[in-house]
Subunit: 224 residues, 2 copies
Amino acid sequence: MSEVIDPPNTSSSEYEVHPHTKVVRGPKRASYDRELVHGIIDDALICHVGTVVNGRPAMIPTAHWRVNERIYIHGASKNRILASIAEGAEACLCITHLDGLVMARSAFHHSANYRSVVIYGKGEIVDDEEGKMEHSRLFVEKLEPGRWGQIRVPNKQELKATMFLGFDLAEVSAKVRTGDPVDDDEDYDLDVWAGVIPCVTQWQTPIDDTKIKPGFEGKGILSR
Amino acid sequence: MSEVIDPPNTSSSEYEVHPHTKVVRGPKRASYDRELVHGIIDDALICHVGTVVNGRPAMIPTAHWRVNERIYIHGASKNRILASIAEGAEACLCITHLDGLVMARSAFHHSANYRSVVIYGKGEIVDDEEGKMEHSRLFVEKLEPGRWGQIRVPNKQELKATMFLGFDLAEVSAKVRTGDPVDDDEDYDLDVWAGVIPCVTQWQTPIDDTKIKPGFEGKGILSR
């Protein structure tokens, strides 16, 4: 069985705290809980991937998916950021959900409710065709469960043009803020509304391709 | 007048293309249009900021706002990523709007509709009290226009504990994808729905702080 469908797993409910993942600012919001981290990763379709290219920071937004204790991204084999990571440059992946604005009674205590995960590590390239095919499937199935059986799967050329990179969930931390603003005692009497303005990612009615095959109009599935 | 309220401006409608901002992958989606870049920045409340700390990539999500040709962020003065940038480390800021999933007839052509901006540059610290106060105001007013007049403004200690960093919009590029999937000719006849599943950030009814001052219940404003 390919390594890509059998990634490392562990039984501890918490990730180990590394010097690099120890949350220094706002430690009360930090978490190393495995289930929480998995949930934050799985709830998101895109992450931001940063690395160092020729000594300079570089970043791209890209789709991701998770298999047990590994997170995967893909892109054009020639993408310079992915290529740098493939060549051994360390990466940093960040996933962020903005859940609401926290409107306090003082400017200083305005904040956001959010769930975020930061992952550090080197990427491992998936270089066998079987593994690439399996990850194409996992990506499409994350977008819409059941879709893989309906579409044309990648051909050899397409697999060759696509790079898949996996990152172990080892150096990982989460930060979460929820709930009310926390104001200074003396500010609670100020004449101003305070609270949270929540926000969610809202999926809308699917829009048919203008070149939709007759008979498939309006058959788009809203799976989230 | 402080530099922070009179940032650089230029009259050209396009940003200059730098070696670092030349979009190599998917150049047809690239844009250097000033108005487009401004719109993508202003439509978002948070960005991801990356830099290099001790030779390793590091990243945080954080709120941002824009004044003409400069984008600003803020955070705890002791934050190690902000401190690194303040000490001269180059930064990379990325703002991404996911606008929809592009469901194609082949796995390979699945994509996303999105608007993103990437900014490279060194940060300039706002170190005078007047400038910090003005940027506190700009941040709060972006969250909710008119709010600054109702809340307690930052005191000296709070301003001291907060670092504000500005980045010139000079090395900047946008990427935008819109519209239908683009499939290979021979795939259009496949028996599968294809199209776009749009998504938006939906703001919801404000939730009163449990310690709301009597008389202010239900007075939260949904300003976006």
